[in-house]
């Protein structure tokens, strides 16, 4: 009888663990941006446990602005998950900048700042990305530096964490607040 109870207890805790695993693997409803002139170009699953997906939006021009909104299934915002996803999002963003601008880049951390993303107060890291054009043409009207801002918040109503990375040239600096406000989970 006692052995049966111990086996049942072990089974019960294994089932509870399995249900937690199912929670982390349950697909997220990707957070999205609805700012005018930013078109969705890509949606890709980053990993499946915890389930994470990102969406890439671009404001097309000679100097494109690029927005990545990643969504991760979490019951809170664990710092390691945040760092890991943030690192991945930053890598994806740097690759996009290199491809779309045709440049090599140097990324320099500038400061931390607060921003309001989709109604949530969020701490963002602000970077300068120095562009080294590969075509050899003089910089002229092209920017030599673009901004990159990265931040994250926990979307409690959906049990998801949202990580946002936004790169914009000086010409679109006025878009920042509008783009951040348009993000929803």
């Amino acid at each position: 009888m006692n052995r049966k109870k111990v086996a049942t207890a072990v089974m019960v805790y294994l089932i509870a663990g399995g249900v937690y695993l199912a929670f982390f693997s349950y697909p997220v409803a990707p957070a999205f941006a609805s700012a005018d002139s930013y078109a969705l170009q890509k949606e890709e699953v980053i990993y499946t446990t915890p389930y994470a997906v990102y969406r890439l939006y671009v404001r097309e021009s000679e100097q494109p602005a690029i927005l990545i909104v990643a969504t991760v299934r979490t019951p809170f915002l664990p710092s390691k998950t945040y760092s890991r996803t943030l690192g991945m999002v930053q890598d994806i963003m740097e690759r996009e900048v290199k491809e779309r601008y045709g440049v090599d880049i140097d990324v320099v951390f500038r400061k931390e700042m607060s921003a309001r993303i989709g109604g949530h107060d969020t701490v963002m890291q602000d970077y300068d990305i120095h562009l080294k054009y590969l075509d050899g043409m003089p910089i002229g009207i092209r920017p030599d530096t673009v901004k990159m801002d990265i931040g994250a918040y926990f979307c409690q109503e959906r049990y998801e964490s949202v990580i946002v990375a936004y790169v914009y040239p000086p010409v679109y600096s006025g878009d920042f607040e509008r783009v951040m406000a348009s993000i929803s989970c």
Binding site: V12, A16, F23, Y26, P75, F76, P78, Q156, E157, Y159
Partner: protein, 102 residues
Amino acid sequence: MDPAALIFASASLPILVFHAVWYKEERALESIYGIFSGLFAFSAAIMVAYGFPGNMILPATFGILALGSAHAYLKGKEKKSLIKAGAFTAVFLLTILVEVFL
């Protein structure tokens, strides 16, 4: 309600059912704490959507179970309760450690 919230909350149901089904007079204290921990985990998981800190759920659940076993040991001085209290305290500390490094 988001299906993810229901999945998250339902993780506590097996523990709740286990303690309710195995309820015995001589182990009443531990069973009551067990049922309470299951109810707490279930409602806390639902309350995450309204601002309850999700990182508190697992440590608090195992903390309640550890308290139950410790309470039962203090009442009945049974070695079994002491072992359970130690095991649940270890899991309680482990969940905190995992969350710190997660």
